[in-house]
Subunit: 339 residues, 4 copies
């Protein structure tokens, strides 16, 4: 298989596996009363420079949908991008967790919701027969590797909040966005109008750990009950918390994301100047869409190195903290030797 | 804290942690297409001597409620014991996963549903104004450490199935029941009329791994979609599958359960003949309820060794595969030195 | 069939049918923008001496469950009496409308929740593994014809509200309770701590009309959207509103209830002194439970005059505004001629 | 207000109101055990020339969503037209009734789903991360007055059923379609591959009555329980059944629809040859979209005669069985006198 089909083909970062091992001694209180779980709110509050409540989850779908369930009533719709993971790749989990709210898919270039689409979607506010826009969910970095600038974020969240909507960020690749924009986690979230963040760790080094980060105290109250209710409260939560603490320690999350972004640029650099290869104008995070010739695609597929080829003919390539230079070299070699 | 308040205070069994480490190399397909996940159906089918579908989950609540969601419609009720974990300790997760079916709590001695209660509960079948009994869920071993005999199981499941109900077993401590009854997993499940089992591993050595085992092919179809929809499909499922495979290998599940059951008997033996201690007539699995004198309780609490004391004055004590003989000795010593 | 099996065997009161006919002219705006619908809030606010929001519904189940859906989150439980209609006779509608909250059935004599049961039920507040008590629902008059005194109501609602619960009254037979207690609608509801009332009209003269009466402005906002979402917003709502307005006009609701209560007393009076008949000590509203001899029961059944006989051997008898004196006489005659 | 803004501005047809009055005598068993309810399956089976189960409802939203809830699991999506009432005008009722299935809006000219869109939507079948297409819902006649031909219906339903989808028809204006196509109800439904029909009566003469007609026996079993669960089971159902029986009697449903369609043509005829008025090429049912000059629109609005003006500048005009020739004349006069 190709090492570049997704960042979730990678394993567990040694420091995180080590943290799991280190947490494995003696008896410990279950259900979040262990020492690691008790440390999470503090460590994440430090990182985000504001008091937060952390709800750890074992999948990105659970984290996103749990966060949304805290924000909307079932009479609401949730504005998402039409290419978002929440809309396309989470089955009907959003409906399950929210008790039957509706996703409202919006357009916008580069997988980013555009302001006009958002404004139009809010046109049904007050119309009794229509789902009532109740939340805005933005993916950062997006499903195609682009990022919202802080200004873009702020404009969208302000527009939404002026109409009473809550704001969520799907940060399955939040670290890659922070690395790309070289700003603080706070600047990309609550300072830009975000109420809750799904802070991804799994794609970026954890085994199975995502954290819902709540910035608004009025979202705190039901959160632990919703965690339990959705089957996300682990008895041995210490091992989930230990992953997240190790992920924060010494900025491993950011180091890994920088590595992943850099590996992607390395892969791009190696593909530059190969006849027939069309690279994107800009590589922002750890994902890029590259056009190859038919011969190149076929050769990649023959050697089981190809990423997923989209309808428009471009191939998605994704690096992670674990991408090997040898795999990059092998990929480049395969492309360049196609005729 | 007391080492005996629950079996979920234990950590990860070395063999299971080792399996996680061993699975941590190179790139692997996500979402269950890894080699470990692909092995699960085969290994569990061998164990249960019949073709099964395995849906791995990260919590017992998720496993139970996911299993039930495959069995009932939202117009149904689910017959459970009034002291069951599903009824008392899973928040409104059963309602969430099933889309609003209702739990119908039944009575019965020793935390076991009695036949008359079940028969009475089914009296509303066909009554348009009432929730329609749609499934029976039995806990094996039960929340107080008792076990259903094969005959008891068979009689209950037959009664339920004659009326069209599906049958589920909450096997968070299934291994302890198998160890206690010295029978095969098949005999305790599908041969005794069980359609689906929540096969617990977390309390018995895993980090966070439970498996829904489906015995009826007509339950298979929706199961993977329900897994995804409930946030239980992990991208790096290899590490969940690796835990479960290691748990089965060389009967680790059974060895651990036997150890836990034996440790419980050891603890009881040590408490025998201490003045004021009233032991249960029989110790079946890894949990027992013991009455102590007030002085004994206070001394245990003072030394942070006490288990949970119930309304009736008895203390729940629970051993696991990891219970240390030194902790057992310390506990006994504390009790015997109380005045 | 017996005229006394339920008050819902009656038809439409002539004044209400007349109101439907009178509303049947010309074109009228749909979905509640007709003149009758626009009048409802005003008329009901007058009746209850406080500003209310009225949500008309076509069934009692819909009214109760819609009201509850405005009060609780899906992590909540709703305290109800174990013999309540909401618990026993509304299928899993409460779970549907609330998105999966749980009913918590409480005990108490005369179908009235007793304070100790309520206090005990609230013991799980703050326990993460348990459904969180979120609302208290009281039936007035109850499913067996008794009534809560204003003091009893006040004590229960105060206890609930002190712990943050909302309070609902199932008033399918609210009119009968007002008639029995000879107090004002305000005194029996918001002045006694009730946040929302299901104000029944169907059993007491309407064709199919129940009104959710909201006393708390913070319950208003989502209510119209929940009405629509649950299929309770009629296009020709004028005919539903017209029923409710006619029901209020000249206190028809109260006149009818007084009649129904009186008819019940008349029936009881006629049964007095018949050998073998055991009447209740007190007849409060329009329902009573009477014990007959076996011969009497059989004779009533033979002549298709019997009400429903409960497990304890007593027969439920229910009068309505439409009960005929001739039917009362026939019933008494049948009983007295049994040997 | 304009008499032509919708067909639901009309009142109750005299024959239907008369039927309600005639059903208003004596005591009758509640909850569907009255003589009128007991007659429905037989009368509708005659009309549709096949055994059907009828579930009466009080709103179109309830009928549609109840029907869909019988057809899909919560993991499913339901293919609907992007301009359908179910998608645009039923709030999140589809999500509520189905327990969180998703609507999948498809394109197609004239408000009719086109085959290619349907085929494309079914492309996610088997993809674990995507909602699984589970039902196809077609509106007949459509929300803009067009109709599917029998061939079009058959092709769509066959395509859907070949992939395992169920098929529903939103027939809020089913009668208008039958009148337009001059075919039998059977030919437009089960013979064309429809599993369940929402048979509308409210817009076409009833007070508040819609009927879910189930053609497939395997949909029957849960239907009565789902009716109860969704608050659609009326205690005095006799008055709902009486409306539906009267609606069928002497083909009142068809007579009314023919009248409504004819009135629409009459209105169009009157508008023909007025300068600036652009009529549709064809008037199929009882709804048409007409373009007027700005002056005409303003004059209509000034006299409170205008229908709803869409974004494309055309005005929706809708006639019913009750449309008055005098209102038609007044409308035409207003348009023709605009300068």
């Amino acid at each position: 298989m190709s090492a570049f089909i997704s960042d979730n083909v990678s394993g567990i970062h040694p420091k995180i596996l080590d943290a799991i091992s280190k947490a494995n001694f003696g008896s410990e209180l279950p259900y979040g009363f262990d020492q690691w779980s008790m440390q999470m709110n503090s460590d994440f509050s430090d990182l985000f420079e504001t008091p937060v409540l952390v709800i750890p989850c074992t999948s990105g779908t659970a984290a996103n949908c749990l966060a949304l369930s805290l924000m909307v009533e079932p009479i609401n719709s949730i504005c998402v991008h039409e290419s978002s993971h929440i809309f396309l790749d989470e089955s009907t989990a959003p409906e399950l967790f929210t008790g039957g709210a509706r996703l409202s898919p919006l357009g916008g270039a580069d997988s980013k919701i555009d302001l006009a689409s958002l404004q139009q979607a809010m046109g049904t506010i007050g119309a009794m027969h229509s789902a009532q826009p109740g939340a805005l969910s933005l993916t950062q970095s997006t499903e195609t590797g682009s990022v919202y600038s802080i200004d873009e974020l702020t404009q969208l969240t302000k527009t939404a909040k002026d109409k009473g909507l809550r704001t969520h960020m799907d940060g399955a690749r939040f670290a890659n966005a922070v690395a790309a924009l070289d700003c603080s986690p706070a600047e990309l979230t609550w300072k830009a109008g975000i109420d809750a963040l799904s802070f991804g760790a799994t794609k970026n080094g954890a085994m199975a750990a995502e954290a819902v980060i709540l910035f608004k105290p009025n979202l705190f109250k039901s959160a632990p009950y919703r965690q339990k209710r959705s089957g996300q409260l682990l008895s041995k939560q210490r091992f989930l918390a230990a992953q997240l603490l190790a992920y924060l320690k010494d900025d491993l999350w950011l180091v890994n994301a920088r590595t992943a972004n850099q590996k992607t640029r390395n892969l791009a650099t190696g593909l530059t100047n190969i006849d027939g290869v069309i690279l994107p104008e800009q590589i922002t995070t750890n994902m890029m869409f590259v056009k190859f010739t038919d011969a190149q695609v076929q050769r990649l597929q023959k050697h089981d190195l190809a990423g997923y080829v989209y309808a428009n003919g471009s191939m998605r390539l994704c690096c992670s903290w674990a991408s090997e230079e040898s795999d990059i070299a092998k990929f480049i070699d395969c492309v360049s030797s196609a005729t």
